[in-house]
Symmetry: D2
């Protein structure tokens, strides 16, 4: 942390800062320039936070130097992590495809979508039972009935289930059906929810808030990690910018940047970032080429009848193309495609 | 709603759309141009939403024309609403000042801040007991102990209490102490929370999400209204932009825009938008001059010791200036300053 | 300037930086922390720029501390400047209104608009003869014929003329008619143009780029100042954000922030920021209340027939309201309304 | 174009709009809904622009439906264009690499960088002689001396030259040395410059403005095309967002979106968007995978000594990696790598 004194700061002002820092158990190094003086602080940054240094007389600015997250930082954990979801790995050696319908509507639609997912190379099934919707008048999901459908389709196809949780009160319920809990973009700073999923003992897929900096995203992961759960996969899904040609702007650079700052795997959602079916394949290729550890895509057997986001769901012809991409690009990146577990056969 | 056909659309494509709309109970008017054909849809827009028109063959674009909110819209409720909080009005005839500490720390600090608030012209006391913090390592608020302090200070000063609720599970608890529930910027699209406060029967202060469009903000208000609660006050608190000189960019235009679209009162938070004490007074004046129905500001008896956001809290000299502004500007706008209720004297 | 070493930096890496800085004539102070080492640099920052410190082994980050502008900075020129345009002051003691048509179309339209401007309290006439238009098919202005009309209207009304220059090659031409040169938002980083107006010896109205930070805006002013011209007025006109309800987002906080960083006057354009007539008056009031040194507004005798931006031009009823604002609000801010010079009477 | 009437609009208001449109030679189709009436306009949209429909009584909103550009639109020119620069193709069948130093400093540095460029797979040489710099105190380029160096290096290496022009007055000079004129991000809406390069008869590399929508970018191309020059290559180079971890946010989706809207080739600048050397390779791979027609990258023999943007220039080890990417990825995309012409041997 660096304290930049204002041009008019006095020696007493400088001494006050140094004293405050030392009293708080830190060390302060003064660099006196012609135009202004700066003070480098060394020690426990949390401690310095309560000193309100910016409010002190003669202080021009306070610049944080070190990162505010610890458990998810790569500084203390240099090798990149592999997270397992129902036995399927997500991490540096593989490309993992998560696919399925945006919303679970019926058993038939879900199983059909799961088969499309598998055909596209997916090893994990996504599907929403609890949906955060901008309008109170829009379909809000089937709730527990949707979770049951997902569990049945898992039994039939072998695909472990990734599904969203939107409320701390329903974390236990969702956990009893899901293999991985998804925290959506609008919930990324729902800190109560982050703490609840952090305590739940299931892998978490943490989408980046559409307005969140990469640092804030990692801080949200830190909330989960602080409760003892480091099985976190980060998902870049587009940020909000001035451009209106796409629903959001996929921040493709965020993948290598986040991988450099954190040991957690990073995947990309090319469906929600573009919001348009014709962008899903190009953005999927770009995601793998940039080094993402996987992708999560919407598929639907009949997009025109979808209850949610039908505009961006892949259809059959796209599935074949995506499968072709998955048969060549992971290898080019020195990775293998994660494989789906076999369905459990009873008998 | 207008469907814009792609240049290559056929007559059959156009007919399909018209048929879909009519089957859904709507009416479709076709305008055939040289370059392209557009179809104007008339009827129940919610119904059209499930038609996935954008996925249909030959469709280039779908443009929504009408607003998606109803209960909070000014179209059906032309006169602007007045909301009462513990008897204090917020609305078109008045300027209401809400002030207090960002975080409740101690009874002494809170009562001192409340006195500063009153001196500045405030008629409502703000103070946080549950704090959403970006870092899991930061102070998260006193919880119920903080609510008790607020209730005591209300008894002593007469100021009704506005405090934040961050979790559906604690709405009942907060309601038992507060006069108005605040939904913070990070919770604006926490739909479970919106529904919970909508059912709670207390006035709600709904902060705009820092990444939310005005339309999304009004949709969040619609979530609350849909549960039967129209006692909602909107609060503009700055949006996230590329500018880093201020914490957020106060969208001052949002005040008249939202007032024109909705009948709900709109106030401004000049403390959190700027994030700097020296901006609070200029932005407070601007807020009243633009036509806001009030402001909400941070005050703290000793900002340098504040546990949260001390950098932006007003101090004594600012209080006198703010009081001076409040004694002249409301009148210039044809309004009066809302007055604090008298403390209840027992005996 | 502060160099933040990476966690893996060696002692040799640190020594290399210190040596480089000293060789460049600066001084380097090392603060060794538990997690990382920072080096505070003191000396000539321009010199350090060519050292490419960020590319050196072991360097994690380089943080600039001091501001990169000098001539326009308030650090070296604490009292705020007053700029005179044809005798009309713009600066701390006054509120100056600049008004006129967005585009000069005919002598009749221009003189009518000038009369409206005067009635609204304006002391300077704006009007565009060279128009930067997004579409090559849109009306590009009357060119020199427009400048002649402006000069005639100045003779008739006494109002000094503010008009835009878009090309270094026409600076001399525009100077021969105008009292103040306007550099538009799209030209804010047209450095050749900035240098040309810097050498022209006329006051300059420098609009903020719609994507420019306040620092970049001041650097653009520095380009003008560096050519010997400090008669610069800054104009905030809205920045580009995700919000689409308004054409741009007026960054009202930029006024006090820029006034604190620079000694130059700062005015506001409420017409182009909102892009809607109904926002001009509320935003004008907000501008004056926040402490702006003036405003620049579009007026047109017949907006429905305007060749450019008719949607935002004020009409007669607005003029009366604006005049009322100008008769009360400057005084409230401890300022006076700048007065128009008398027309020169010949004979 | 669709006119949306306000809820309170009368029949007379509707009739007025219909009459205006018909008088202007267009046709108007009225769709009367329960809540509001919309009017679809058919005809010459430029003509409608001057009707100022938004200012008319009873009009709520005016929504443009068709795109405002013509010559660069893919609607009238469905097959994607190939542009040749000194014989090197840029377009759908190839991947073209443009590389070189950000700034031309010396003949030695430039020829060394050109050799690195070739080794990396480049067939065109970039290098700046006129530099638009944010600070007036920064190095502004060698000017004509730099152009001469570029021409010498072209003679030696055979690589055609791409260089920036920042001022209409120097277009002729730059044309006498360059094979392709670059219009930089800060000049994208310098309309005088666009017109000058449009008349110059050389291919143009048009960078996207860092704050420009894709539509505005295509309108800038239309300015050039309107002067008779359709040899335009679009270059996505990152847009400005709230994220500060990267210099700009590469809008990777803009590549397929622009390619769908326009027949012009689209390339990507991974150096300036990220502003960090470690991002150049991942973003280059992503660019090719998303379907870009090429990339433009900074290389420098000794980045630590570069006069401009040394932080992002590739060094030797990166060159080998980039060459490896270029030997595999174009083929995966069904393209070939564009080859450099042979140097002209004099004899």
């Amino acid at each position: 942390m660096v304290v930049v004194m204002a041009p008019e700061a006095t020696q007493t002002d400088v001494d006050t800062i140094v004293d405050l820092v030392r009293t708080a158990g830190g060390e302060a190094f003064v660099s006196r320039g012609v135009a202004r003086t700066i003070i480098g602080l060394v020690g426990d940054i949390e401690q310095f936070g309560t000193l309100n240094l910016r409010s002190r007389t003669g202080v021009g600015d306070v610049v944080r130097i070190s990162v505010p997250y610890k458990l998810v930082s790569r500084e203390n954990h240099p090798s990149r992590s592999v997270i397992k979801v129902g036995g399927v790995p997500i991490g540096p050696g593989t490309v993992t495809v998560i696919a399925g319908p945006c919303t679970v509507e019926t058993p038939e639609q879900t199983v059909a979508a799961a088969r499309m997912a598998k055909a596209a190379g997916a090893s994990l099934l996504r599907g929403g039972a609890f949906k955060p919707r901008t309008s109170p008048y829009a379909f809000q999901g089937l709730g527990e009935a949707g979770l049951k459908i997902l569990a049945e389709v898992r039994a039939e196809t072998g695909l472990p289930v990734v599904t969203e949780v939107i409320d701390p009160a329903s974390v236990d319920l969702v956990c009893s059906y899901a293999d991985m809990l998804q925290v959506g973009t609008r919930s990324m700073q729902n800190f109560t929810l982050l703490q609840a999923v952090g305590s739940a003992g299931k892998p978490v897929l943490l989408k980046r808030g559409m307005n969140a900096t990469i640092e804030e995203w990692l801080m949200a992961a830190e909330y989960i990690a602080q409760r003892g759960n480091l099985d976190i996969v980060l998902c870049e899904r587009g940020i909000r910018t001035f451009e209106t040609a796409t629903r959001n702007t996929l921040d493709i650079s965020a993948v290598p940047v986040a991988q450099r700052l954190s040991h957690l795997p990073v995947i990309v959602d090319p469906s929600h970032s573009g919001g348009r079916r014709d962008l899903v394949l190009p953005l999927s290729r770009a995601a793998i080429a940039v080094g993402a550890d996987g992708i999560i895509v919407d598929v639907h057997p009949e997009p025109a009848a979808a209850l949610c986001d039908g505009d961006q769901a892949l259809v059959d012809s796209d599935i074949r193309e995506l499968a072709a991409v998955m048969s060549t690009m992971p290898q080019l990146m020195g990775r293998t495609l994660s494989q789906a577990p076999q369905p459990v056969t009873v008998g």
